[in-house]
């Protein structure tokens, strides 16, 4: 029961972390390696607004989400737009920007474990006889709401359909008058805001540390790899597989085997089924 519940929470954590990354890659084929940095950025911006500018929690949260989206837009407009299509350069440039962002916070003195965000609701619930605090339930709740929102947005609104059009076939979509740059900007804004949302929900469980930026990136990559890059359903499924795998490892083996199991899962998936559990790429594209 405990494994089931905490596995579920862990899986939704991974979904929240990874979905923004997979969304941007799925729509515009842009690897946003600054994803983890935006995660940390949102956390610190929310903290600064609450403790330095004395804003109440909800406006601070909304403003920090908006600033995360803004960072995404700026990265696209000033950097990615100019080097689009050069894969290696895209990865290095976004990774470098991410590192710059994270290290700036370290330089500004945000070190140690003193920075925390408040939880949405205080208190502990009991499901069966397992104690679980409300914030962990919130992780599941926010995850479900976000997935539903993305599903409705991409199925039933014009903008959402345009995004899916670009994702399916960029040239055909451009012929129908969908602006590729505009959708990519939008995708970056959405993906970054999702990373920010994940930060607002997950950081209250612990404290805001700069190192989280690097770990988040690795976890997001791991989930996307196992699920198949750019495949949304695969990402969700992979988050569940990895989420439960991690919790089971921690319970039955030891904490430091958590990363070993995660990495072994990734290497095995890549060698056996490179495009992931639900990858859309053709067999010939991925291996000879």
């Amino acid at each position: 029961m405990e494994i089931l519940l905490y596995g579920l929470v862990n899986s939704f954590k991974l979904i929240l972390i990874a979905f923004g990354f997979t969304l941007v890659y799925g729509i515009s084929r842009l690897p946003n390696f600054a994803h983890g940095a935006i995660f940390v950025f949102t956390g610190f911006v929310a903290w600064i607004m609450m403790h330095k500018l004395n804003l109440p929690y909800y406006p601070a949260a909304l403003l920090s989400l908006a600033s995360a989206a803004l960072v995404g837009v700026l990265i696209y407009q000033f950097i990615l737009k100019r080097i689009r299509g050069m894969n290696m350069n895209e990865i290095i440039a976004t990774y470098a920007i991410g590192v710059a962002l994270i290290e700036t916070f370290r330089w500004l003195g945000f070190r140690g474990t003193t920075f925390t965000l408040p939880v949405f609701f205080e208190g502990v619930a009991f499901i069966g006889d397992v104690p679980i605090d409300y914030q962990r339930l919130m992780v599941i709740g926010v995850g479900v709401v976000m997935l539903a929102a993305v599903w409705i947005f991409t199925k039933f609104t014009r903008t959402g359909l345009a995004l899916r059009g670009i994702a399916q076939d960029e040239r055909a979509a451009m012929m129908l008058g969908i602006d590729s740059d505009l959708t990519a900007t939008l995708a970056m804004a959405l993906g970054s805001a999702m990373s920010g949302l994940a930060a607002l929900v997950i950081f209250p469980l612990g404290s805001i540390v700069v190192e989280a930026g690097y770990n988040t990136l690795i976890f997001a990559l791991a989930v996307c790899m196992v699920g198949g890059i750019g495949s949304w359903g695969g990402t969700v499924l992979a988050a569940f597989v990895l989420g439960f795998l991690q919790v089971i490892t921690v319970t039955y083996l030891a904490t430091h085997f958590q990363m070993v199991v995660t990495l072994a899962a990734i290497i095995a998936t890549l060698i056996l089924r490179p495009s992931g559990l639900f990858g859309k790429h053709k067999e010939l594209e991925e291996r000879v």
Partner: protein, 337 residues
């Protein structure tokens, strides 16, 4: 940008002449061909003498050569074989631990343990990467990124080779001059040997695999075997660098699998310009001292380094060497359309 005009690039006369065999009959043409190569060779060979008065920068020179080797390995795999390998630190770690184990168990001099560790480590890396060889593009890239992370966690979890503390008291070099010149000459030899390899028969097959592996396969060539050979050469360079590093620091530990050894060589290749191996070396020569010079900024060092890197990528995406060699070989003029 002027309207109604376009820029035209034409090869310089001396470049065209020195492409032919006749170049050998004229000093001007020979020096046109040799000058850039001699600049690099003599520059690297003289550097330890000039830096003799700055002992700190002598250490930096060693690190430059280490990163130059790693960048060459990356450039060779990415732009000659078509395998983008993000796991440079896997090679470094395997080579480093190999050299440390050898020198501690056999008590031999670095000049025996380094080559042994390089060859042994290269065999190990090739075998370890064998199952991933059929993978292409981004899938190979991510799998190789995971290998060093995996090794770190394994060593940590099972407490192998001294666990998180690493292996101390690896034998160092007795003579600092030997330490520097052995590495510099090895770097130059590897550089020109790899460039030579690329124009030999096997080099042509390797380039064929990058362009179209299906048709190479259709010609009855075992491409997995050729790719394994290429991985062996690249990991030979990487393990050599790692083994050397272990003897310079007199220590082998988990930080040899750190992301730095994967990322900085890639950055060097991108900044210097890929596809010629020389660009990778140039990138390492520029970036490593830059990151040392930025130490003056203290904690802001990584930030400014990343920003400079991003700026170079955005502004000069083709790489410095490609830009320079175009200026060297061609002239430009405006032409009316």
């Amino acid at each position: 940008m002027k309207s109604g005009l376009r820029k035209e690039r034409i090869d310089r006369g001396i470049k065209v002449r020195s492409d032919g065999i006749y170049a050998l009959s004229s000093w001007r043409e020979i020096s046109f061909l040799m000058a850039p190569r001699m600049l690099l060779v003599c520059g690297l060979l003289l550097a330890p003498l000039i830096l003799h008065f700055f002992p700190y920068w002598q250490k930096v020179l060693l690190i430059v050569c280490i990163y130059a080797l790693l960048s060459m390995a990356f450039d060779f795999l990415a732009n000659y074989v078509g395998l983008v390998c993000l796991g440079g630190s896997f090679f470094v770690g395997v080579g480093g631990y190999g050299a440390a184990l050898l020198s501690k168990s056999l008590h031999c001099s670095p000049f025996i343990s380094i080559p042994l560790a390089a060859v042994g480590g290269a065999c190990f890396c090739t075998l370890a990467l064998l199952p991933c060889l059929p993978l292409r593009g981004v899938y190979f890239a991510i799998v190789t990124l995971m290998y060093p992370l995996f090794m770190t966690r394994i060593i940590e979890a099972f407490e192998l080779f001294g666990g998180t503390n690493g292996m101390m008291d690896v034998a160092g070099f007795a003579n600092p001059w030997l330490e520097q010149y052995f590495l510099i000459i090895a770097t130059l030899v590897f550089l020109f040997a790899l460039r030579r390899l690329a124009v030999e028969d096997v080099g042509l097959v390797i380039k064929g695999i990058k362009d179209n592996d299906q048709s190479v396969k259709a010609s009855g060539i075992n491409i997995t075997f050729i790719k394994a050979q290429a991985i062996f050469y690249a990991s030979l360079l990487g393990c050599f660098a790692g083994a050397y590093l272990a003897h310079i620091y007199m220590w082998a530990g988990l930080s040899m699998f750190a992301l730095d050894f994967s990322i900085i060589p890639i950055a060097a290749t991108v900044v210097g310009g890929g596809g010629s191996l020389l660009g990778a070396v140039l990138g390492a020569i520029l970036l490593v001292p830059l990151s040392e010079a930025l130490r003056a900024f203290g904690p802001l060092r990584i930030v400014s380094y990343s920003l400079i890197l991003t700026a170079v990528i955005v502004v000069k995406g083709e790489g410095l060497l490609n830009y320079l060699s175009r200026k060297y070989n061609q002239f430009e003029r405006w032409k009316e359309i």
